[in-house]
Symmetry: C2
Subunit: 195 residues, 2 copies
């Protein structure tokens, strides 16, 4: 069993991530150190900076995740600032911006930065393509989940169970990539089935 | 004459600030070190962090300015992320969010952080109250200037000359406060009239 600190105050993120990595024998525990997020158009840059700063504080292997909803017709808005935009103009504001807009293409992107030491930070990316719905639907998930319909589905993320969402979500894909990498690169890590 | 580094890549900001502080015998020069802006709802926090990090790099007295447009009906949006919002959804996007909204109250806020040493950072704030117009007007200024009408005027910031804008703007007020503070607190600084 590998234990990794997860710098987050969002219990939804922790739950979604744990669901994915537990299959690989990884256990996540919340790290309460302050997450220093810089302003950048690049989720990678934000996550790497935050992971570095957090590692400097706690000196334990840890991960930082950053995610955002990128809407093509809005030039990528709200992107890295999705949580601020959610707190201010919200789902209704984004739907208003999309009124009369035919091109509904969007993607959720998640980046996980894994800090193993001060100068060793690995980065993993997960993407899910989709479209912006015309009205909010569903009560699951969080953030912009009620208006995001992943490709190949009729439901929004908020209409899916955590398990369904984790089968396709950006966050799940990023954490899956990290878990696979750890299995291949960390000697002490074994799949949970063999423990 | 006091020379101060200004960490900015925006020539408009430099010009507006210089116009204000030159009356106090202060000359600003651009500092090209990377400006590290954190994500925060507080302009003060963003400016102080950036000033500290820049000072660590260049070890010269320097200033960092951060500003934003805070719209009451949008819970303060776009706030500290005004420049990102401007680059993505732009003036048209903000006007669309304000369609049918009666409460047009907004304010521009600027914060100047002056780093004099690693542990001495002074902070100055400038605010201008106003309203969001119904359509963009004027071609001066930059950013959201074409839709901001300062209190007591019929014109938007973009319809004013740099001199007119500097008589009332948030940025001018923050820099004015800094210049006055420097005059009172820095021995070597004299008003330019006496040099």
């Amino acid at each position: 069993m590998l234990r990794l600190g997860f710098v987050t105050t969002n219990p939804n993120k922790l739950r979604e991530a744990q669901l994915v990595v537990s299959r690989y024998g990884i256990e996540l525990y919340p790290v309460t150190v302050r997450k220093i997020e810089i302003q950048s158009d690049s989720l990678e840059e934000i996550a790497v900076y935050a992971a570095k700063k957090a590692f400097e504080e706690v000196r334990q292997p840890l991960i930082v995740e950053d995610a955002g909803l990128f809407i093509d017709a809005l030039n990528g808005f709200p992107g890295p600032y999705s949580s601020y935009v959610y707190r201010t103009i919200g789902v209704r504001g984004v739907l208003k911006l999309m009124e009369g807009v035919e091109n509904r293409r969007a993607r959720f992107v998640a980046v996980v930065a894994l800090a193993l030491s001060l100068d060793r930070i690995e980065v993993f990316r997960g993407v899910v393509e989709g479209t912006i719905s015309y009205e909010p639907r569903g009560s699951g998930g969080f953030g912009f989940d009620p208006i995001f319909v992943p490709e190949g589905f009729d439901k929004t993320f908020a209409e899916m169970s955590t398990e369904e969402k984790c089968a396709v979500s950006h966050r799940a894909r990023a954490f899956e990539a990290m878990a696979r990498w750890l299995r291949e690169n960390v000697q002490t890590l074994k799949p949970s089935t063999s423990t």
